[in-house]
Symmetry: C2
Subunit: 206 residues, 2 copies
Amino acid sequence: MNTTLLNENGKAGIAALASRPPRERILLVARDLFYRHGLHPVSVEAIVDAALTNKMTLYRHFKSKDDLIVAYVNQLASEGDIVWERIAADSPGDPQKRLDAWVDHIEDVLTNKYERGCALANAAVELDPDHPARAVIEAYKRRKREGLVQLFKAARYRDPERLADEVFLLFEGARISIQCGGKGPASRVVSMLRGLLAAGPRRTRG
Amino acid sequence: MNTTLLNENGKAGIAALASRPPRERILLVARDLFYRHGLHPVSVEAIVDAALTNKMTLYRHFKSKDDLIVAYVNQLASEGDIVWERIAADSPGDPQKRLDAWVDHIEDVLTNKYERGCALANAAVELDPDHPARAVIEAYKRRKREGLVQLFKAARYRDPERLADEVFLLFEGARISIQCGGKGPASRVVSMLRGLLAAGPRRTRG
DNA sequence: GCTAGACGTTACCGATCGGTAACATACAGG
DNA sequence: CCTGTATGTTACCGATCGGTAACGTCTAGC
């Protein structure tokens, strides 16, 4: 069986894995396999094999596969929050700079050759409406959108709610479109976003 | 087991099903179950049960489950094409009216209470990159985007490619956001689209 | 050095999966 | 009426699934 682990999405290979505790290895591998192949096609066997451990150890850390999925989704959400906080920390008190930095980050995401859509959105597609992981996903998306609203508000853009929705939806649409063969539309979204940011600020009555 | 069939997304109930040939029943049911629960969680047993038939009959019409998935995706794509053609037929030679009609259609889709994202995009999330159904999905999305470009071109909008990408991505983003709890962002997208259509036309040098 | 707890190994469980063989039935067209 | 074709029924296949029991091993901390 193939034991190739983890794309170059900022993560290390098999060598760095071996020295980490099993739970961490499992989450690292789950993150990779779930994203690349989806939730259902990836068996716990495949995960523990790639994580260089075994089923018993996995089930000592996670009550069930669904519980692992919740942990996987929580991991993604908290990583997204960290990116957001890093952007905030890099430009304290400068909402305009934060917006620019956010678009730079978007550009990185969309040009990543391993991009296969938003992992959280993809997970939502595969999960029943009552799956506990969905609440995490929905809360994260709302948080993200609200952060954009506050940023546009602080930067004194006109109609911040509408603008936040627009850039939020453009970004979401671009990510989902990448794996639907529409690389064309997505390639233009960064310049669209920059256009929106450049054209809008301080239109609040001067 | 529950035999509730087909949401009100324009399709009939169990009574209308019974009089149709098995292959049609199977596709009708697959369309419903695949969309509501995803591709992998729906077994062929569940499909044939809901379609009031049996596995043997299904496998006489489809070589495999993957083959059924291809037929499911083809069905969705051709239905989408039919909507597009109907819009064209309703406003022959009037691209602006077609654009308006398209946005009206978008509004219907986004306000449908059973909306769970674009069925084709959802399917793409669940399919390997080399699955034969993916080519169908990608071709459809490209076709759809190209149709928008031609419409904006014919209606003499400025920068039709960019505008087509923008409305395309907003629509895609809205659909995927609906099931991620972001009903807020999606609710504004129709007025955004109408704004884009109203503000832009004939900006081609007047 | 001993012990406790984390980890690994093997083997297994019942359920379900996609898919098929063999056979019975219904029915339309000659 | 007879025959061919589509459909339905039952039973089954091997594979894989998520999950567990029992037991052996390793090592950190006292």
